[in-house]
Amino acid sequence: MHELSIVSSIVDTVTESVAAYPGARVKEVRLRVGALASVIEESLQFCYGIATEDTPLAGSALVVRILPVILHCEPCGMDVELEGVQSFRCPRCDEPSYDLRQGRELEIDSIEIEEGE
């Protein structure tokens, strides 16, 4: 249920950022969300519609890109991508690893705006 606080934070950040482009309309907000970020896209989308009303983000689309977990595997000497989040082992050599290189992201990547005139 913290999706609403997350969306409110998105609205604040984007509103601040578009202030530099007077008269601009926000068309799209793109997020990068790690598979371990414990955020549910459906809930985000649901809150987004409500929380953006009467803000510069009203009517914009929210695009969520989910990033898989990437671990560094010491024995293989490389970063490896996990298919899920049920086992933190290297898919190549099966060695467990806690050296997380990606998967906890929760960030606004970019926004697409339409400038008038």
Partner: protein, 220 residues
């Protein structure tokens, strides 16, 4: 009309992360070991913490606790019986504690006069995982009544934990608790994590936990 892409690359919880980083710095400078206790409602965080506070005080340590709940100060009153300073944080519907609430409730406390500060989070295995409170150690608790697959169901919390505590070990047998399976699942999600099997009722496993706290406090 021109369309423009503006790169932001900004963490959504940046405000919380910055506040938490400030808290972490304060805790470090004060030499206080801060722990964030996270579990489902009913795991026994409060009973475990009552026992921990009382035992640490008996060992001569200076301890304090912040406890989060949606409503009521019942847990703060229970914990205060240990003689430690305790403050209740009522979130009024918010499902987690955040760094701002912690900063606000620390006002007036001299952190330099503490060895340990425990933060008992709101009972919830999902949302607290996203909010850094500046803690040194995040503790994920799991009771024997909850099912051995809880770590698999809530990987975000268990993966981000520094230590895991299994509570209510005194009733493990009647609950049909499969200890090996639980340990395996915790390790699958968070390889190498320290696991403590405890009972706040009988005191079993508490010594290992208290020794761990002392070790962590010593290397601050």
């Amino acid at each position: 009309m021109t369309t423009r892409i503006v790169e932001l690359r900004r963490g959504i919880l940046k405000k919380n992360d910055e506040l938490a980083a400030g808290l972490r710095e304060r805790y470090g400078a004060a030499g206080v070991l801060v722990l964030n206790l996270v579990s489902s409602p009913g795991t026994g965080k409060t009973a475990f913490l009552e026992r921990t506070l009382t035992a640490l005080k008996a060992r001569g340590a200076r301890v304090a606790a912040l406890v989060g709940d949606l409503e009521t100060d019942n847990d703060a009153r229970r914990l205060a019986a240990s003689g430690a300073p305790v403050r209740q944080i009522n979130t009024h519907g918010i499902c987690h504690l955040d760094a701002e609430m912690i900063a606000k409730h620390l006002e007036g406390w001299e952190l330099g006069e503490l060895d340990y500060l425990f933060i008992e989070n709101v009972g919830n295995l999902v949302c607290p995982s996203s909010y850094d409170l500046g803690e040194k150690i995040r503790v994920a608790l799991l009771s024997v009544t909850e099912g051995e697959d809880k770590p698999l169901k809530y990987p975000t919390l268990f993966n981000s934990a520094d230590a895991a505590v299994i509570t209510k070990m005194d009733i493990a047998e009647p609950c049909g608790f499969d200890r090996a399976e639980a340990l395996k699942n915790i390790n699958e999600i968070r390889p190498g994590i320290r696991i403590f099997e405890t009972s706040a009722k009988t005191g079993a496993g508490m010594d290992a936990w208290l020794d761990y706290l002392a070790e962590e406090r010593a290397v601050l």
